[in-house]
């Protein structure tokens, strides 16, 4: 076991050459090591790698626990909830931040959305072409340092007051920075509207060919809970008990069209509710506010102060699910899980 170059390197190697006493000691160590190797000796296992590979791939358990189908991105397995936390940020940006030449949030605010709103907004994706200029890479890691390295040095937040009942089993997750550009097309918009039986509001001048470039991440976080339990198939979802994540605040920039034109155009889409229009118009500076869509039929929210900055708390105190989101120091933070809202707020306030 001492036949490795690293077993005696540099100064030690030179010393061993000239020192009879140390040389003898090293020989004893070598003899001991050899005897241990012989103790542990076994007939070599003969393996058929090809067959073994087929067996592993045909085992349903080997299928990724979850695949989040981000267009064009790596579809490596990743846990839904962490990805969802990150993707929520991306979706919010895509859906609501057509309102600026440059968007960089410094705070968060909730806006109520209905199912009809979401349908109307999701159709916007058909009004042009999305190109990933930098694809997001999701990876799980075994420790904070590896996760941080994947996320370009962004350090995962540290939970200092893990509530009783939440598993201490932690999986780290990280996402590299991603950038996508959406290019509006008058022809595509018209065709999409026609296919949905709708008439579009007039496109603002310059909208055809206008681009919206969105940058999301890097992001890094921790997932608490035993992710392997009850996950024998790719269709099963392991909801972790708690997720804490931190992402560099998303940014968006647009060309050819102004803030007012884009905002008016989006809010004029057929199907957008008056409540959503009112809420978005009430946001003071849309270029610095991260809007969190809250499905009014399914969730509640309230404005809170977290880590001495404004934040939003979603969910309730039933323990079914809650989340806290805030923006501080250029990062968006999320604490979410199957915990009570007051517990989520407490974790958020004590996050390091």
């Amino acid at each position: 076991m001492v036949d490795d170059p690293d077993a005696r390197s540099g100064v030690d190697a030179a010393h061993l050459e000239g020192c009879a006493e140390c040389g003898a000691r090293f020989k004893n160590i070598s003899d001991d090591a050899r005897s241990i190797v012989s103790l542990l000796a076994v007939p070599e296992a003969r393996v058929d790698v090809g067959r073994a590979f087929e067996r592993v791939m045909s085992d349903r358990k080997s299928q990724p626990a979850l695949v989040f189908p981000i267009p064009g991105a790596s579809t490596r397995p990743f846990q839904l909830a962490f990805v969802a936390a990150i993707a929520a940020v991306a979706l919010v940006v895509v859906a609501f931040t057509f309102s600026g030449f440059f968007f960089k949030p410094t705070t968060v605010k909730t806006v109520p959305v209905t199912v009809a709103d979401m349908q109307a907004l999701s159709q916007l994706a058909e009004y042009g072409t999305l190109t990933w200029t930098k694809q997001p890479q999701f990876q799980a890691a075994t420790n904070a340092a590896d996760a941080s390295a994947i996320a370009g040095g962004l350090k995962p937040p540290v939970v200092t007051n893990l509530p009783a009942g939440v598993s201490k089993t932690v999986t780290y997750g990280a996402m590299s920075e991603a950038e996508a550009t959406f290019t509006f097309s008058a022809d595509k918009a018209k065709a999409a509207a026609a296919s949905h039986g709708k008439t579009l509001p007039a496109l603002p001048k310059g909208m055809d060919g206008a681009t919206l470039t969105i940058t999301v991440g890097p992001a890094v976080g921790e997932i608490y809970g035993n992710l392997k339990e009850n996950s024998a198939s790719s269709s099963s979802i392991n909801l972790p008990q708690l997720i804490v994540a931190r992402s560099t605040a998303p940014t968006a920039k647009s060309t050819q069209v102004t803030v007012g034109q884009l905002e008016a155009y989006i809010l004029d889409q057929p199907g957008i509710s008056p409540e959503l229009k009112k809420a978005i118009k009430a946001v003071g500076d849309p270029s610095t506010t991260l809007l969190i869509p809250i499905p009014v039929e399914y969730a509640t929210s309230k404005d809170i102060t977290v880590q001495n900055v404004p934040g939003v708390a979603l969910g309730d105190n039933t323990g079914v699910g809650s989340a806290v989101v805030w923006v501080k120091g250029g990062s968006v933070y999320v604490v979410a899980g199957s915990i009570k809202q007051n517990v989520a707020i407490d974790i958020a306030n004590n996050l390091k």
Binding site: D4, L40, G72, P77, L130, Q135
Partner: protein
């Protein structure tokens, strides 16, 4: 290339990366498990579980992939070694299999007994030294052992020395009982 075509390409390249990792590391992962369990069939079971777990949660292109697999192989096989029920089952299977091919029954009984005692001793060591011994004895370099165990390369020598001493002590204790 449209979105679905790009997605397919991504999936394919991920699968290719996993296959490449599998082909390189599978024999080594089996080797580590076999060194602990002294049973090639059970070692393959462990190796397959390790790869299945890895594939579910990790990217094959992750830099830490080989180190993760080596550590998981060592710990999973040591866990099996410590499971009394499985150990008995393994020993029965092993005895039957080896009984079929052994040339000198008396000699084979001795070898079996030695192996059993060494594995029992290995199972009584703390996880880190036991894993270090298994990995090194199965051919991993000091650098690979260091990566798998998350220790500095300069610590591997000392870790192995202490592990060897502890194993020897445990083997002696086992044989004197």
């Amino acid at each position: 290339m449209n979105l679905s075509a790009r997605r397919m390409t991504s999936v394919r390249s991920d699968d290719e990366a996993f296959e490449s990792l599998f082909r390189t590391e599978y024999p080594r992962v089996v080797g580590i498990a076999n060194r602990v369990l002294a049973d090639p069939h059970e070692a393959e079971d462990v190796a397959q579980d390790v790869f299945i777990d890895f594939h579910r949660l990790h990217s094959a292109t992750a830099q830490y992939a080989p180190a993760w697999l080596h550590r998981a192989a060592a710990h999973a096989s040591l866990n099996r070694l410590r499971g009394a029920r499985r150990r008995q089952k393994r020993e029965v299977a092993q005895a039957l299999e080896e009984g079929e091919r052994m040339l000198d029954p008396e000699k084979q009984v001795e070898v079996d007994e030695d192996r059993r005692q060494v594995r029992a001793a290995l199972g009584r060591l703390a996880p880190k030294p036991a894993a270090a011994l298994a990995m090194r004895a199965s051919g991993l370099s000091y650098a690979e052992v260091a990566q798998a165990l998350g220790v500095g390369i300069g610590q591997v020598g000392t870790l192995l020395r202490r592990a060897e001493t502890a194993l020897r002590k445990e083997v002696s204790r086992g044989t004197s009982n």
